[in-house]
């Protein structure tokens, strides 16, 4: 058993020393500098905010040390399924930091923002081509907001046709954001049971389709990593009943240049630029969740729309049927620059090679693991594979235990317990950027854990022991939430 490991355990507040500072601000160069002479007293803080007093060296060392407590793609294989933790190219960062992009104010006159508007216009066209959609709005801040935008456009479309449709159908294998976004848009959610391999149950779908259904929302490839092969039949069944079909684009990394949602009959799809298009995940965001639509939904696009008039680019606000705005400004532009850079770096053949290699890598992992873990479905997968630890569970080892043991063996963990329809799910998405050597090391580790489950389970149950902390008391954290630092004795 490990004893207390050496390690850093400070918060920035605990480094504070009165009188120390790290800032460099100019002296006041205008005559009146005392706020008490400028503002009524009731608007001025009675006491200074309790913020850290630290030096620049303190700041650099503290956050450098904190960073060392993290696993990231730059340091570790990060097979977190559904999240597409691929390599984030460094040139993207250089381009996003060009002063004309980084230091551009969103309300600068359009004539003084032409380069930014042009880039957004071009990125929207590229995403439309990649998806086979007619229009793309770059405004949504992340996938979930893209979903909200998409579902609101569907709602507005039906209402404009004088139809009040109140339900949205969503499979039980869906990401949690699908039902959450749909409920937020004012619909009631009807959960459809999937077949065991995550495919849509056509009989069940037919039974639920009707004049009160606004949309069917599915993930393609599905969350088990399988391409829904009856997709044309599904979109035709839906359209026959006036139902719009929405594609959750979380798994777009599987299909670049292979197939396009627009050609499959989808009316709406969103993109996660932080997954497929290499913008960094940043410890939980920012993301960017553009939404693509077919022509019939164009009147409802979020405002403003970036348009090209002759050689000029502009923001078009006069869209009377628009669903409105989703963010204060035009979208997560910094992410748009990175995605644009990535698409231009890769070109058409490069994008296709991304998906080919993502599929190859996932199938390689699946093949190497299938004798040791239960597959969730037969046949080849697309860009990710889902295996079940139900065999290990009989030995007292859960998917979570396996995840923790992987941390000790030098890997971040796959997504666990998702999709919900697979018992003890481990969802593994290797991405195209990983080498065979890395995949082999990971598979060796997974196979080692399967062996340990039979032979020496305690080592798994004790894991992790190499991380800055061991397993944490989640229940206690939720029962008595401590959500901020308080000074000792306070």
């Amino acid at each position: 058993m490990p004893t207390a490991r050496p390690g850093y355990d400070k918060l920035i507040f605990e480094l504070s020393t009165p009188g120390r500072h790290a800032h460099s601000l100019p002296e006041c160069d205008v005559p009146v500098s005392d706020p008490a002479q400028l503002l009524p007293a009731q608007h001025l803080r009675a006491t200074a905010a309790e913020l850290p007093e630290v030096s620049e060296v303190d700041v650099i060392r503290h956050y450098s040390r904190l960073s060392q407590m993290n696993y990231g793609v730059d340091t570790h294989f990060y097979p977190l399924g559904s999240c597409t933790m691929k390599y984030n190219p460094k040139i993207n960062e250089d381009m996003a930091r060009l002063p004309g992009f980084l230091r551009l104010h969103p309300l600068a006159p359009e004539a003084a923002s032409q380069g930014a508007l042009q880039l957004m216009h071009e990125l929207a066209l590229d995403l439309a081509e990649v998806s086979g959609m007619d229009h793309v709005s770059l405004q949504p801040a992340a996938g979930a907001q893209g979903e909200l935008a998409g579902v609101l456009m569907i709602r507005a479309y039906h209402l404009a046709r004088g139809e009040r449709r109140t339900k949205v159908l969503i499979p039980d294998s869906a990401h949690g954001t699908n039902p959450a976004s749909t409920a937020l848009a004012g619909f009631s959610v009807v959960e459809l049971k999937s077949e065991a391999n995550g495919d849509v149950d056509l009989v069940d779908l037919e039974r639920h389709l009707g004049p009160d259904v606004a949309a069917f929302m599915i993930t393609q490839p599905n969350t088990l990593g399988l391409f829904e092969s009856k997709i044309h039949q599904i979109t035709e069944m839906c359209h026959a009943q006036g139902v719009q079909v929405y594609m959750d684009g979380a798994n777009f990394n599987a299909i670049l240049g292979i197939t396009r949602p627009g050609d499959l009959g989808f009316d709406v799809c969103h993109f996660n630029l932080h997954k497929t298009f290499t913008t960094p995940h940043g410890g939980g965001g920012p993301g960017s969740g553009p939404v693509g639509i077919k022509d019939h939904l164009a009147p409802f696009l979020p405002t403003p729309v970036v348009v090209k008039e002759g050689d000029e680019y502009a923001l078009d606000w006069s869209r009377p049927q628009s669903i409105g705005k989703l963010q204060a400004f035009w979208g997560n532009f910094g992410m748009h620059v990175r995605a644009w850079t990535y698409i231009r770096t890769m070109g058409p053949d490069g994008l296709r090679a991304v998906s080919d290699n993502a599929v190859l890598n996932a199938n390689y992992v699946l093949r190497r693991l299938e004798d040791h873990y239960d597959r969730s479905a037969p046949g080849p997968c697309m860009h990710e594979c889902v295996v079940s630890a139900r065999r290990q569970k009989k030995l007292g080892i859960t998917a979570m235990d396996i995840a923790k043991r992987l941390l000790d063996l030098g890997f971040y963990a796959p997504s666990t317990y998702f999709p919900l329809i697979v018992e003890e799910a481990l969802m593994i998405e290797p991405t195209e950027t990983e080498s065979k050597e890395t995949l082999d090391e990971f598979c060796d580790a997974m196979i080692q854990i399967a062996r340990e489950a039979r032979e020496s389970p305690q080592i798994i149950l004790d894991a992790p022991v190499t991380t800055p902390v061991r397993r944490l008391d989640q229940t206690g954290a939720a029962r008595q939430p401590r959500l901020k630092w308080t000074p000792p004795g306070a």
Partner: protein, 447 residues
């Protein structure tokens, strides 16, 4: 393909292990009619040197705040960004990690978010803050939705002093739950309290005011709170935390929720995104909050550690019953803000506020001396103010660009009632020389 590691030989080896002849064989489930039968029609791949040249040219078409004196505000501000921020956020362990679902391998992110929550709670004067939402606008929208859920009431009153772009986003978010939105008018640049009193009712879930408001004016938050609370509604205050090193925290003035845009805390303007949605609340509302929360706990050895907590509020567990649909937030921007507040510290953040308001007042006085130019409102203001101009603000702004000045935001497109007005923001970065040059250029432009 420099981002794809496997060589053709390795690909063949892997295919052999899988037991298929080609990658095509792995795609067999995709019906022929679903396949794209041509290459994607996107531009050809560019070499890095060509790409850099191209984007340098494209970006040079934009008026950036290094080469132009930026007096633009309205929700995005040119505040100082200390050098350590960029160096630290680019550490790959922060930059290329994701949501800390495995806390043992994510303590760095979790600790920094815990620090961020502490700083935001302190600055806003609230009990708790979440790990971030997308931006100021969506934070206001989430606050209105939360007030609706907490009070089970179907209406909200929003002051016309709230950023009009934010009000548009609130409208979008309120469409689904059918929350009725009423606006409270302004009098002399601040919310008309008599009109506000008349617009609240037993149906009002929330009153929303901004501090300082969109026009830079300082609202009477306490009075707005009393009106809201008398009606049983929550008081939502929209505030920019970079100002709260100097200004009274809204929590001390009766706010139930404090939300807003944190971009000023070290996040680059970047044409309006990514930004930083701040969301803080009173303790009793914590279980109804949207977004992620980090809590302190202990590990098996009793050692301090941090985890995502109260996750049963969130979409990945509660699905359609979640408090919000948000998943990905803006953790990296929250990290920027955390480093910013650490660098600025107790003294620096106050000084940012003092310098900004001092320079804004100097500028306002200088501009108001120009014949035909007047301050639009009489109310006290902080670092932003509206000017009424004798000539079209759009044309004045265009003229100022020639003098390398980004003069402000013409208000016509945002609110027609102020078509003659220009919104001017002054941060600590503007020098007296910048302001004097602006005054001279403005005098020439309106003459």
């Amino acid at each position: 393909m420099r981002y794809i590691s496997n060589t053709p030989a390795q690909q063949r080896e892997m295919l052999a292990t899988i037991g298929v002849g080609s990658i095509e064989d792995l795609l067999a489930r995709i019906p022929a009619k679903a396949r794209l039968s041509r290459p994607l029609n996107v531009p050809a791949a560019m070499a890095e040197s060509d790409l850099i040249r191209h984007l340098r040219r494209l970006s040079a078409k934009n008026a950036n705040a290094d080469d132009f004196a930026c007096f633009l505000g309205g929700g995005s501000y040119d505040h100082t960004i200390p050098s350590p921020i960029n160096h630290l956020i680019l550490r790959g362990e922060f930059f290329t990690a994701y949501t800390p679902y495995q806390p043992e391998a994510s303590q760095g992110t979790l600790r920094s978010i815990f620090e961020y929550q502490t700083m935001m709670a302190e600055l806003t004067g609230m009990d708790v803050a979440n790990a971030s939402l997308y931006d100021g606008a969506s934070s206001v929208a989430e606050a209105v939705l939360m007030a609706h859920a907490v009070t089970e009431r179907k209406a909200a009153v929003i002051s016309k002093g709230v950023n009009p772009l934010y009000r548009q986003v609130v409208e979008t978010y309120c469409e689904g739950p059918a929350i009725r939105l009423k606006s409270a008018p302004l009098a002399e640049g601040v919310t008309d309290l008599d009109a506000l009193r008349k617009s609240v009712s037993a149906q009002t879930a929330a009153v929303v005011v901004q501090y300082p408001n969109f026009f830079g004016c300082l609202e009477d938050i306490k009075a707005a709170g009393e009106i809201a609370h008398a009606a049983g509604a929550l008081l939502i205050v929209v505030a920019d935390p970079v100002n709260l090193g100097l200004l009274t925290p809204p929590g001390a003035l009766g706010a139930d929720l404090v939300v807003g845009e944190g971009q000023g805390l070290g996040v680059p303007m970047s044409f309006g995104g990514p930004n930083l949605g701040v969301f803080a609340a009173k303790q009793e509302l914590v279980r109804r909050m949207p977004g992620r929360l980090v809590g302190a706990t202990v590990d098996l050895d009793g050692k301090r550690g941090f985890v995502l907590t109260l996750q049963t509020r969130e979409q990945h567990i509660r699905r359609e019953k979640a408090t919000s649909n948000i998943c990905t937030n803006v953790a990296l921007c929250a990290l920027m803000a955390t480093i910013y507040v650490s660098v600025m510290g107790k003294e620096g953040l106050r000084k940012v506020g003092e310098l900004s308001t001092a320079k804004a007042h100097y500028a306002a006085a200088a501009f108001a001396k120009i014949p035909g130019v007047a301050l639009t409102f009489k109310a006290p203001f902080f670092k932003e103010f509206a000017l009424t101009l004798p000539k079209s603000p759009e044309r004045v702004v265009k003229r100022l660009i020639k003098d390398k000045i980004l003069g402000g935001v013409p208000l016509k497109t945002l609110d027609r009632a102020y078509k003659d007005c220009l919104l001017v923001a002054v941060t600590e970065k503007r020098t007296r020389d910048d302001i004097d040059a602006y005054a001279a250029a403005l005098a020439a432009a309106v003459a």
